[in-house]
Symmetry: D2
């Protein structure tokens, strides 16, 4: 049985305490009823990870816990083996005692593009909606955030996060396995990130409102999502699939998305970055052996997806509550 | 206390019986907690309407219950007076014993445009989502529908419907004062109408899915909504107001809307009618004394709203589940 | 999937309509989640019962549907076989086309003792709390009750009731498979019976209050339960077992029970009958092959249970709301 | 708005953490919907209490916080005045900086009778069900309990507790304003007290089971309640009033109560004390100016209540889970 009590103890003593009115009941139900068939196996895998003492924790330019020298080669082999049980690894990379978890995504690229534009995270309480296995949570902490919460309903991502946190059990970095629909309107976070989620939502405006509901007055939203070229009235709703993904709904232009945010009452909405996802940023690796971006694009014209839509173009938009 | 028992008795004996699992509880709560401040007064007004015996019921070309000759001039005066207490009357017109309720909207125009395109309603079970005071419910019944249910959360619309039904208490014509969000997925209606609602929804795709969830396999959707000119990727999200209305969200092109319906699995999606709302269709009357369309348009250019958007253009789209 | 719609249709048109606020939702949940492992088999058994045309319906002195002559010997054999699949049969007896279901209990004895003391049931709406397989429901109907509802959470009792009702599908006689805890305070029944239940309740006063909550003002309660000799302060709470039953809690004296009823606001509380259960009233039969009363009594002294408590003494107490 | 976060922080870090699944939601609802009309005024009174520095905290032989010398005479006057706003004070006495809150009850008498018989409270987690204003909570803490929780739904008692705790804000002593029905079965407390509650419950066995549900295996129950003389089958259920109290239900003999506890699975049930409540233990004072015991007894025969029942006789019974 998973024990979220240490997280609750922190909530009870910080400005998120209102969350205690709903979260423990939800997670208790989740623990009892909703667990993935492989979840127990993943927990066993994690419990088998050896206790180590990392010689250094690097969060500023990478997520790197300990060095190869800190552990024996047997331990290294064991750790590598166990972490491989949690494949596919999509978001990273992580380096654990010299073991390089080479994930499908170079999430550090995305972070590097966004970081120069955001308000310094020092002492801030931060939420990351759709945080995956939590790569960016560590980078946020590396930038001085006081308390970092990521949410993502994927249980494999949660298990991967647990495995990583095992080597650096920082109580200020947390992943809670729920979706934004499960959160009450806390209106307390200083910064809310949501990267790579909006286009998966059937109701983009409700989603943006939910993000707004988590921010304190004046708080900052960093929104990263797929966009298309076009004016304020341009929105692509792909057919059944976009880049082989089934659940893609609204891909607006930057102008349209900017307008939506303003319509919902966000201020100071600005485009921070616009980037066409490169084949070096999303690709197959030893840790993610399924298809990746190269397979999702038109083989003869990388400016188009295999379905003929514009290839992935991603914007980082920043706004204030 | 409102008594919906006669409606429940019908549900229990027709194919909508699953609705009994939620509706009575919802309406009991609604009766206790959610009533509008004027609701009691409206109920009193309705209870004062005299009992009459309409010499004829006309539903085919108009909604006309009884003739002037059926009642005394004192009764006519009383009825007119009481019905005027329920102003503003927006959807109609109704003729009650010769009293012409000249509503803001000539809802009969909309009906005339849609009717030639829809599958005959004979013996069908029909839902009208956002039915207003229920004008079209009577017209549907006039076309032979076996059982007609309208839903609209507005309590004034409900009171107006009660007042009209007082003069023709047909158990097959019903208005239930709830919204589509309150309905379980019944998947039983032969025909679902929704006219003039989609653009008021912050999540148009969720709304279309909700409509789909009410239809039996093969059932027919008649959707009427605001549209703009443009291609499949064109969607207008107005600013704070459109034609002075605050709560307008998505106005897609016909092509975009058609695509959305297909994406959700509707078949045989086709445009039945496209019409620029005329000043004779929506206007101030003795029964609706507030501003109307003329006040919402640019005074010097009726092709634009007062905010500069395209003036209301309405499409009727038909599709099958 | 069980369909209670015909019952709901009746509720919607009689004075119990408030029950629609909770019952359909409860029974839907029950159908989905709470069914006994053998329930499907029982339903199949019932669906195999042949359609017959009973030449006569006898409810006044017995529960007897049809005669042996109405059916072929093959049908008789089939019916007997199928009904035997629903053993053990505890409450009865029933006679179905000459087939005598000789139940453990001669429930007709109990009925004969109570009947002379109760207000005539003609045109009354009647509830029987803990009705077993419904023997008394038929007798109540036989006395002219307009609408009879029995409740009992046992699913085998429910199946037995279905089997019996198959041969006389009287819509005025109903068994709903719930407990009294599941009922809202309807305050509408003219007569409420509860026979053989009180001593199974850990909170007798709450149970008596629940019975009161079902009665209209002035309505009549017929309560049958185990009692002991003694004064107003005498209450037997047996040890782990009483007459081998595990779930027996409070066995008051008649004086104590009378006082409890008065304390809760019942009027005109009177003892109608006091009877020591005889070995001819509760015994093993071909239709109930387990242990019965003879096995529950002290072999050498039938005035005591096998545990040494006073042997079953049953009172019928009548009171008004 | 009341903030229970410090209590939640403690729950999250001790063995009661399961309570977080329900308590915060309940108290949030309570804060919003259920507050007594005078509650705001009481909170204002409490917020006006001056900050003081008690020279000593006495919990062992009395509840005494600070001495008269610690504060000015003006402060003393102010404190006395404010505490008097929270009358009537029923359970105590408390001494706050020399101000003697002379409560209706000498709750210390009851404590003195029970204390010699209970397992030492050192390092135990303790629950007091129906704790009133919390007098015994302080005495439990004085005996070394590690964490003390009292529950009582009375909001005046809660306010009185807040006022007392103001002068000794010990985080290990807590009153939560709920009833036992609101608690999940925590099965974690080492010791559960319930003094003066059982006879107010319409279902004594359910109440005893609820107490059991709070105890860890082997944990200790200290139950104090009204009893009558008599054998195992003797239970007094008074009429509408007992000693002028309206809500008195079951007053068993010690033998009957002992048997009930055994029936529910308690072990080692023993009578620790039997005491006829004296006029020096419950009486009118300056802090409780309403009627008290003397007014509840037969004026000419103090062995009887004014209704003719046996005068209050109280037993302390101890049992193990």
């Amino acid at each position: 049985m998973l024990d979220f009590s240490p997280f609750y103890a922190q909530l009870a003593t910080n400005k998120l305490h209102q969350w205690l009115q709903t979260l423990p009941a939800q997670l208790a139900t989740w623990s009892k009823e909703a667990l993935h068939g492989d979840f127990k196996q993943w927990q066993k895998t994690i419990s088998n990870l050896p206790a180590t003492t990392p010689s250094a924790i690097q969060l500023k330019n990478a997520v790197q816990f300990g060095a190869a020298d800190d552990i024996s080669s047997g331990e290294a082999q064991q750790i590598r083996y166990l972490l491989q049980q949690l494949k596919p690894w999509r978001k990273g990379p992580f380096n654990i005692h010299g073991i390089d978890i080479d994930t499908e995504w170079r999430s550090d690229f995305k972070w590097q593009r966004a970081l120069p534009h955001i308000t310094a995270l020092t002492n801030r309480t931060v939420l990351d909606v759709g945080c995956g296995s939590g790569y960016h949570l560590w980078r946020m902490r590396g930038e001085g955030a006081e308390f970092v919460v990521g949410i993502d309903p994927s249980q494999l991502f949660y298990a991967q996060f647990q495995a990583i946190k095992h080597f650096n059990p920082d109580p200020a970095v947390n992943l809670i396995p729920i979706g934004i629909d499960d959160m009450p309107a806390l209106k307390q976070f200083d910064t809310v990130f949501s990267m790579g989620v909006l286009y998966h939502r059937r109701s983009p405006l409700d989603f943006l409102q939910q993000l707004k509901n988590q921010l304190r007055p004046g708080g900052e939203l960093i929104l990263e999502t797929l966009v298309v070229e076009g004016d304020e009235n341009t929105v692509l709703v792909p057919g059944e699939r976009y880049a082989k993904m089934r659940n893609v709904w609204f891909i607006p232009s930057v102008a349209a998305l900017t307008h939506w945010l303003q319509r919902l009452g966000f201020n100071n909405v600005r485009l921070a970055d616009l980037n066409c996802t490169g084949l070096d940023e999303q690709r197959q690796t030893d840790w993610m052996e399924n298809e990746s971006l190269i397979d999702f694009l038109d083989a003869t014209d990388h400016s188009k997806t295999i379905e003929g839509y514009p290839a992935p173009l991603r914007a980082v938009i920043i706004a204030n509550n």
